[in-house]
Structures are given as C-alpha cells and as structure tokens.
C-alpha cells in the first residue's frame, strides 16, 4: 500500500524514541516490531482480549485499538518497564506468589491493567478487582488466582506483608 511515512516521538519505559511509521501501524505492532518489545501480546487485534494492554500517559490502554501515530508525544509503560532493576513490581510479585498465571500469554496485559487499577485504589474489594480487569480475558486461570495476586499486590503497596499461594491451596 502506498503509505505516507510519518515521524513520531514516543517515550517507552523512560526511553525516547523517534521513529518513522506508516499511518496504519497499530501501536502494539510499533512496540513489538519497531522496538522489539515483544512482552506486549496480540490476542485478537480487535480490542476484546486485553493481551495488548499498556499504560499510556497513566491510563491502561489496549494498544491494538490505537495507531502509533496517535501516541505521538505520549509516555508509555509496557510490562518490560515495570520492574525496578532486579526488583519486581508488587503486581509482578503478586502474580508469581499467587500463581496468577499459567500460560502467561494474558499476563503482561493483566499486569498492566492491575497496575493501573491499584494506582487508583490500592485497597480494592474483590468486586472492584474483578470489575477493574474485566477488559482482560484469561483462558487458563479462571481468574481466582489473578484476584488473589492483585490482592497480594495491593497489600504490598499498602506496606503490609501479604502471604502467597502456600496459604491458599487446598489440603
């Protein structure tokens, strides 16, 4: 297709990028193909599964619903950018401690939505958690342990010392 090439400036995980993109390039493809940040996944390309969720200027956004050119000037955080060096983000730690993932494909999007949720309210009820991640589908976990993971992360972010999966399993 004869595409005009446009220049965008996007900050991703604190690094500034200046790139030439076609207008039809989706943000998720820009992250994956141009920047090789393959932690952000594509599950449907139509805005329903949430596997592509990233944080754009503080808000959780499904990056398949946005063109890269629309992110010109934006500051983006992806799953690769949430740990602080070797120290996992509390939400990452929660998912590990509480077995919040199985195949891991939904997980980066799920983590980004959970971070956005907890940054607004670090003490959500179970119902608020379930509502907060309703745009992210997981086929593996039945969400039980994802809810636990977010609860763990919330407690950690509130300065408590939460307990992981060893306290949760059946006999």
């Amino acid at each position: 297709m004869e595409g005009r090439i446009l220049e965008v400036r996007i900050s991703v995980n604190g690094v500034d990028h200046q790139s030439d993109v076609e207008p039809r390039t989706l943000l998720v493809h820009y992250l994956r193909e141009n920047l090789s940040l393959t932690g952000t996944h594509v599950g449907c390309e139509t805005g329903y599964c949430g596997a592509c969720t990233v944080i754009v200027d503080g808000r959780a956004v499904k990056s398949c619903t946005m063109f890269a050119v629309q992110a010109d000037g934006a500051s983006i955080q992806t799953v690769e950018g949430v740990a602080d060096g070797d120290e996992l983000h509390p939400v990452q730690e929660g998912f590990w401690e509480c077995h919040g993932l199985q195949c891991g494909f939904c997980t980066p999007g799920m983590i980004m939505s959970s971070i956005a949720l907890l940054e607004e309210n670090n003490d959500p009820s179970e119902a608020e958690i379930r509502h907060g991640i309703e745009g992210n589908l997981c086929r593996c976990t039945g969400y039980h342990n994802i809810v636990r993971s977010v609860q763990y992360a919330g407690a950690k972010m509130r300065g408590e010392s939460p307990q992981g999966a060893s306290q949760e399993v059946s006999s």
């Binding site: 932690g39 996944h41 449907c44 590990w96 494909f105 939904c106 309703e134 809810v147 999966a165 060893s166």
Partner: protein
C-alpha cells in the same frame, strides 16, 4: 519416598520470572532474517464448487512472492496426521470447499499487510451448493456433505469397537426388560451439548525455515505436539526425523486446539523450501474461530431406567456427534473417549449409540475433556432428572449406584480396567464441607420467599494418562506419523559436570507448569536444589520420543519416565559418592545439594564434586563408566481414572432469567499431588471452561453455515466479573498404574462442571415445571423456559 520437602509442596513456578517480565518467547516473538509473511484466501461459503482461482492481480502486487493453490501442493499428498476415517482435509481446497473458512490459496509476501492486501485480490469463482448445518438433517442424509458418501462416518454402538477383540455381553436386552417392569421408572431427556470454540488467548502461529544446504527444516509452532508435527513433516517431504526440528516454545494456552498437525504448518515448510526464505503465518482471531478446530457439538437423548428406591437398572445414550467437514487428528475418537466413561462412576448396564456425522462446519476435535465432558453431561443430567422423578436426594441416588472401593480394579462393561476409586468417600467429603443439609434448608427458605436458589451436584470419573500400549493397535497411537506407535513417555535426566541438572521431556507445557513439577520430581530424588535444575521441553530433536500434552497425560506418563530416569542416575551417583566418601553405595543419601553417609551428616560431598568425578573416568571405581545421565521410555500399563464431585449454588432472577453463580465447591481426586498450587490452578481453569459452556459460550451458525460468533464480541468468554472464587479440596486415592501414584488433573475441572451448573439452575426452577434448559443458559433462554413452564 520424600527425602526433601519439595515433593507434594507448594513451590513457586520456575517459569514465572520470565513470563511476568514480558520475557517469555512465544512463536510470534521469534524473528528470522528475511522472513516472509503469509495470508490465506478462505472460503466465504460453507459448501461450494470452485470453478477457478485467478491470482494474477495478487501476483502483480509489489512485494508478493507467491500465491499457492492445490495445484502447487497436490503432489505432497494428504496430511498424514489425520485419522483414516471419512474424508481427509487436503492441504488447500481441491475444487470444492466444505466449510466457511476453508483455505483455498496461500499468499506469501514481504510483510503481513501486503499478504493480506494480496489475498483480497485473489479472485475465486465459487458455485455455492446446499450446506448441511443442522445435525439431525445431516444424520437424515438427504443432502450429503461429500458427494456420494454417507454423512454418518461410523457409529460407536454397543461393544462395536472391541468386536473381534474381546467377547462382551450386550446389556440392551436386559435394559429393555427392566423398562417393561411395573416397578420401574423411565426418565428420558433430549439435550444439546453445544459446539464450542476452544479460544486460547494466543492464536496459533507458525514460522518455518528450510535450509536447502542441509535439506533440513526448523519449524516453530504454537503446538501441543511438536514431535507429531515433526513426524508429519518428515513423512510429507520424505526427509528423516533427524532433519526436522519442530520447536514449541512458550505456548499461550492449548486446550486441545493445538493438538492437530495443521495444513499451515506443512504449507509454511513448503513455501520456505520453494522460496528459500523463512516463512511465517500468524492466525487472526477470526481464523482461530473458523479455520482451526472446534469442540463438542452433540445432540442426544439419555434415558435412565430404575426403581423407586434409586437403583438404576439401565442407562442408554443415543447421540449424533458433529464431526464437521473433515476428520483430523482425533476427530472420530472423541465420541469414543466419551464412550469409555459413559457409565461414569456407576455399576449400571449401559447401552450407547454415538453417531459420528459430518456437516459443512469446521472440524471438531479434542477440546478440554474431549468426549468426557459430553459423556458426563448426559449421564449426570439424567441422574438428576431421575432423582427428581422418584423424589430422592440426588446425592443418595448416586451413592446407591457407585462402584465400591473393594470392587477395584473394576472391569467396565466394554472391557477397560478402572485402576482405583473411592467415590462415596469423595462425595461425602464434599457434602460435609459444603454443609449440604444446611445449604438445602437455605435454598428452601429462600424459595419460600420467592427467590429462586438452586443446588447442583455432579460427580464424574474420567479416563486419562494415555496411554497403555495395549490400546495402540486400536488407534491410540501416532502410528500414522512415522513415530513409535504407542503413547509412551520419555524423560532424560543428566547431571552436568558442574553438578547442576538438565531434564529433557517429551511433553511440554501450555500453562501447566511442567518446568516446576518436573524439577520437583528430580530434586526430590537427587537432592539437587530446584534452582539448579532446568527442564527442557518442546523440541522434537531434544527428547528421543515425545507424544505431547493432552488427555491429562504429561505427569502420569512422561513424569513417570523422568522419575525412573532420576532413580537410575541416583543409583550410579551413589556408587560415585560412595567411592568418594569411602562408604557403601547403599549407605549414601542425597539431600540439600549433595550426598552424605547415612547417620553421619558430616561425611558429605557436594553434587559439584560427584559430578566432577563422574566426568573424569580415571577417578571412578573399576568398571564404572564416565557420565551421569539416564534416558527412560515409560510405557504405562493402563490409563488412569481420576474422579471427583462438584457442587454449585446459583440464584436465578425470575424477572430476567439471569443466572448468578453464587458459590462453587469441588473435591477432586487425582491421586498423589506433586505441586498442590499448580493442581488447584488446573482445577480453577477447568471449572471456568465448564461454567463457560454452561452459561455463556456457543458457536452459532446460520442455516447456510456462516459462523455468527467468530469474534470475541460475539463469543463471550467469561471475564473476571462472571466467575466466583472456587472452594477446592481433594481426596487422595493413588493409582497403581505408575510409581508416582499420580493420575492427571488437566481436564477434571471441565469434565465435572457444566452439568453441575445446569443441574443447579434446573433445581432452582424445577418447582415451576422446568425439566431441562439447553446450554448456554443465557438469560433469555432461562426466562423463556420459565415462561413456557408457567403456560
């Protein structure tokens, strides 16, 4: 058997640090230099002749390298990885299409955008024909899907599949007699077990790279069965197995969807060889719906004949099972798996006729549970209806008909052997934990206030851990794939020269946590710490044989092979350590990263020293060879038979028909457990998929065969808000089929749950006169059923 604490304990998963940081490598994350992209031209018709395919406009587009049709690939023959019953799928449509989404042509271009643009420019001249969509119409055979071939490929009836192998009695005359008695009750329901779309969140993806110098090929594929894919590629292209490397890296959910050798895997290899460049294909979500496999799709009648005191004298199941347009890997074997467990946990005469019928729809094949959820649904729904009819508690009816623990091993009516079971203890344990009597009182009290609460119960037994070599001759094998025939398992355990350990297995995870569970087995045996054990999987050239991850078989089969390989490594290591410690091998114990002499913990040696010695033969005792590894192939003597009991509490809104799942309890029994956290996770996800079938999901077709639910907007997977927390527990009845005593847990949750929900909803509205509602129990259906019953 445990010398360290990891076996049977909760251990955080080894695979998670990578996955939670976005560092997991799925097929679509792998890049090859100069790779090309693919798009398929797919049929918009469910049934049509193809008059011509004109690719000239597509080929004229800049960046397009090739457009292939069946004329280019007919010489490859048929995909060998298909069960040889019915009409097999050609690599690309050959003059006729049989379902919407069938691939007609393959475009290869510089990038996926160009490939898609070019695919739109391929002009196919179709001549539409009548499509066969409805299952009963298909069975009537008035219009045939494949010209001149009956739509009914075969019927699994009576004891037909064993005929000539074992002489078995036919229970049907006895059941007919019981029906005619004055003191019996006959209860019958026609029910639909609807078609489902497996829907892994990761779409399938394929990347092929043919090396013309070596005439070898590497294929990365999101697959549950990389070895079988390699076998099929080798057979198709006439190259030996050691020139085909198929890698399934991280796999983003399988559920049976990725348990086929698909034409696109072969076609990408073909294109890569022809064009001399790597070739990639990534499935779109719509393609995942119409072009990969679907599951379930039965309509059937189940009938129970029994006495008023709850004794069941006969169970009959007569169903038409939708195979779709072509048979694939296991297609006609799915109803057979259902037949294996058709009588469930009960000592009851059973007669069945499962008609495998083709339609103009995508192929059905294994979807989580594969025949067993269908069988459990038909049986456990009708047992509930029977209990209601005779006014007995559904739990008591079940208990009155269970096999008793002292009857095991049980030989089933069709000659299979059920290993171990204690069904009544399992059910009682669930009922006690739930507070069954109180819950019933709560339901009745709510009902008196006009609220519609319902309790649903289901128990189940499944058959898994395939499989016994004895069944290889009956089709349970990869014989057609150029692989060893039986469904064996393999495990290679190698202690490295530095004392760390590498484990290579013939089955890989799509979320089940193999890396962690297998490391626990090896750590427990060798006393090597978990962090020093790496588990390799998913590479067809790494392990000597591999069958794959399906049918809840990995741990019972490949896990056992690994356990046995561990034992052999330990025996040799004891000789080496004994030599170093000047002790007898029998006195050597392995623990905490090394070995010590029993009773003298300070006479110890670290694994690094044992390993160092193992790889320097001159330091070894006389007659001991260098190296420290073992490779074991395990052939299970039998399948395993996990079981369990599930119970749900629901509330139905009488105004809207909306179903609220309030509470869910499950007590499963999968034998011994290695990592309880992982086992619970498998049950959670399994239940979620059963609840999804009961309440939400259905592949809906219009009457010309268009799939109306091909996007996630129309095919509603449950979201977090649609599900409750699950209350789980276990009983433990080890199997004697393998030394670990493990049975398998991947499918249990799904097999136990759909009918639990439907039983609960019907319980909530049965006093209004509702006897049955077909899944999915969306509000409109439930509301309509209440309205119809009121009239």
């Amino acid at each position: 058997m445990s010398t360290t604490s990891v076996m049977g304990g909760v251990v955080r998963r080894k695979e998670d640090p990578s996955l939670i940081q976005g560092k997991g490598t799925y097929v679509d994350d792998i890049k090859r230099h100069r790779e090309l992209a693919t798009a398929f031209v797919r049929s918009p018709f469910a049934a049509a002749a193809i008059n011509s395919v004109d690719a000239s406009a597509a080929l004229a587009l800049e960046g397009v390298h090739a457009v292939y049709t069946i004329d280019d690939v007919r010489h490859l023959g048929l995909n060998p990885a298909q069960v040889a019953v019915g009409t097999l799928r050609p690599f690309l449509a050959d003059g006729v299409v049989h379902h919407v989404g069938e691939a007609v042509a393959m475009v290869v271009a510089d990038d996926p955008y160009i490939a898609k643009d070019a695919a739109d420019l391929v002009f196919v001249d179709y001549e539409p024909k009548d499509a066969v969509v409805d299952l009963k119409e298909a069975y009537a055979d008035t219009v045939q899907v494949h010209d001149g071939i009956s739509n009914t490929l075969l019927t699994w009836a009576g004891n037909a599949w064993w005929e000539g192998v074992i002489d078995l009695p036919d229970p049907s005359p006895g059941i007919q007699e019981a029906k005619e008695r004055d003191d019996t009750v006959v209860v019958s329901l026609e029910m639909v077990n609807q078609r489902l779309i497996p829907t892994a969140i990761e779409p399938r993806a394929v990347l092929a790279d043919w090396n013309s110098g070596y005439d070898s090929v590497e294929l990365w594929s999101s697959s549950q069965i990389p070895h079988a894919v390699a076998g099929a590629i080798g057979m198709t292209f006439g190259i030996p197995s050691n020139k085909v490397r198929v890698v399934a890296p991280e796999v983003g959910g399988g559920f049976g969807l990725k348990l086929n050798v698909y034409p696109d895997e072969i076609l990408c290899c073909y294109a890569s060889r022809a064009l001399g460049r790597p070739v990639r294909w990534t499935e779109t979500r719509r393609e995942a719906s119409v072009a990969s496999i679907q599951g379930r799709g039965w309509i059937g009648t189940s009938t129970i004949t029994g006495t008023r005191d709850g004794k069941i004298l006969g169970y009959e199941l007569d169903a038409i099972c939708d195979m779709g347009a072509y048979t694939h890997n296991f297609t006609v074997a799915i109803p057979l798996l259902g037949l294996f467990v058709a009588p469930g946990q009960y000592d009851i005469p059973t007669s069945y006729a499962l008609h495998c019928v083709v339609t103009n729809k995508p192929t059905t094949d294994a979807y989580r549970g594969a025949g067993r959820p269908e069988a459990a649904y038909y049986l456990e729904r009708i047992i509930d209806a029977f209990a209601r009819e005779i006014g007995m508690d559904p739990a008591d009816v079940r208990k009155a008909n269970y096999w008793k623990p002292d009857q095991f091993p049980v030989t089933t009516q069709i000659g299979l052997t059920m290993d171990t079971g204690d069904y009544a203890t399992n059910l009682d344990s669930l009922l006690e934990r739930v507070g069954y009597e109180d819950l019933k009182a709560k339901r009745d009290a709510a009902r008196a206030e006009g609220r519609l609460l319902g309790i649903g119960l289901s128990t189940y037994v499944e058959v898994c851990g395939f499989g016994p070599s004895a069944l290889a001759g009956l089709g349970f094998s990869w014989a057609g794939y150029g692989l060893p025939t039986a469904f064996n398992g393999s495990g290679v355990v190698r202690v490295q020269p530095d004392g760390t350990c590498t484990v290579t297995i013939g089955t890989g995870p799509s979320g089940q946590g193999h890396e962690t569970t297998w490391a626990q087995i090896v750590s427990d045996g060798l006393g090597i710490v978990m962090d020093n054990i790496e588990v390799q999987h998913g590479d067809s050239l790494d392990s000597p044989v591999g069958v794959g991850t399906f049918g809840s078989r990995s741990l019972a089969v490949d896990g056992t092979a690994t356990y046995e390989a561990t034992t052999r490594v330990k025996e040799k290591a004891a000789i080496i350590a004994g030599h170093l410690l000047e002790a007898a091998p029998e006195d050597v114990q392995f623990q905490d990263g090394g070995a010590h002499v029993a009773g003298s913990p300070d006479r110890s040696v670290a694994w690094a020293q044992i390993a160092e010695s193992a790889y320097q033969p001159h330091t070894l005792p006389e007659g001991v060879e260098g190296g420290l590894e073992s490779s074991v192939v395990f052939s299970p003597p039998n399948a395993t038979w996990p079981f369990g009991s599930h119970l749900a509490l629901v509330e139905v809104d009488p105004e809207t028909g909306d179903v609220d799942l309030l509470e869910y309890w499950a007590t499963d029994d999968c034998g011994n457990v290695i990592n309880p956290m992982i086992v619970d996770g498998q049950v959670h996800g399994g239940i979620a998929q059963g609840v999804a079938q009961a309440l939400f999901e259905e592949a809906i077709y219009d009457d010309v065969g268009n799939l109306l639910t091909s996007s996630l907007a129309d095919y509603p997977l449950p979201a977090a808000e649609n599900l409750p927390m699950f209350n789980l527990d276990r009983t433990v009845t080890p199997t004697d089929v393998n030394p670990l005593g493990v049975k398998g847990i991947g499918e249990a949750g799904t097999i136990g749950s759909a009918q639990t929900i439907v039983n609960a909803v019907v319980d909530a509205v049965s006093h209004l006169g509702v006897k049955h509602i077909d899944m999915p129990l969306r509000p409109k259906r439930v509301w309509q059923a209440i309205e119809d019953a009121r009239k």
